[in-house]
Subunit: 143 residues, 2 copies
DNA sequence: CTATAAATAGAAATCATTTCTATTTACATT
DNA sequence: AATGTAAATAGAAATGATTTCTATTTATAG
């Protein structure tokens, strides 16, 4: 937690109860969370937070590199905690339990230089979406 | 065009004026197109097509492997023609002119087996989003 | 030519996300 | 510890892409 609060300070974000509560929520989960779900979880802990605030907080935490945004194929937004913010990595998302794993491996530079040579283009961003079953879910055939 | 109509028949889709018109539109463009934009272009050619129909047609053509769906970071849907439907490939999207290029290169199997070993997971899907400037746009500094 | 399943239009609904504004709060600086 | 200020927040309302629904039309198999 302290680590993340330090990052917030670095970015000149104030340490507010809502931001801390959202962070705490993510620290206790290894799966991705959606805005409405977060609102409900905070509500259960007796902290009413408006959806617009949640959207904003999530955006800010993403901007600070604390959360990663997951653009789900359902076209809804989800976020997941970034355990190692400063290392180039991608995320594996379990299609059953929503668990998110960080994958510190990316041979993208090969693809990137292939594209730059072949198309004479300039690659700016890339994002790899990997979906499948995590070790737990692949064992259980049914949920 | 004939090639794509054959694919439609294969999938038991009827050859309708709307579907042909949408296909023609894509055959004349190398960039991605959005539903509303398509409606307007068809309108100029005096073919009024309702937006729900356009959404449906795009979805069907994607299902038949004729178009690829581009989930833009703006969270709007775009589609682009797939020139070589049956080869595993990814798409490079120019952030300036929206041109879409197919990239027949993917060393994903490496990443995939890395993940399956490391996380003991089962990889089901992956999609790589590559964004940058195409050869034309990187030359012109300003639009 | 006809039957019928598929395709379509248009209106309306949906619903995640964003915008706006008044109010409150964190915290740097006294 | 008090205070001023910019940042944070709530809540209502707007937005706008996408989807649903239903009545009507159309492509095409036989």
């Amino acid at each position: 937690m302290e680590k993340y609060l330090a990052v917030l300070k670095e970015y000149h974000f104030k340490i507010t109860p809502r931001r801390k509560a959202v962070l705490e929520l993510f620290l206790r989960q290894k799966r991705y969370l959606g805005p409405y779900e977060i609102k409900q979880m905070l509500g259960k802990a007796s902290l009413e937070v408006g959806l617009p605030s949640i959207y904003r907080i999530l955006e800010e935490l993403e901007g600070a590199g604390i959360l990663i945004k997951i653009e789900h194929s359902s076209r809804r937004l989800y976020y997941s905690l970034c355990r190692k913010p400063h290392i180039d990595h991608h995320h594996f998302v379990c299609s059953k339990c929503n668990r998110v794993e960080e994958v510190e491996f990316c041979n993208f530079s090969e693809i990137s230089s292939f594209i730059e040579e072949k198309l004479n283009a300039k690659v700016q961003h890339h994002s790899l979406r990997i979906e499948g079953l995590c070790s737990q879910c692949r064992r259980k055939k049914s949920l």
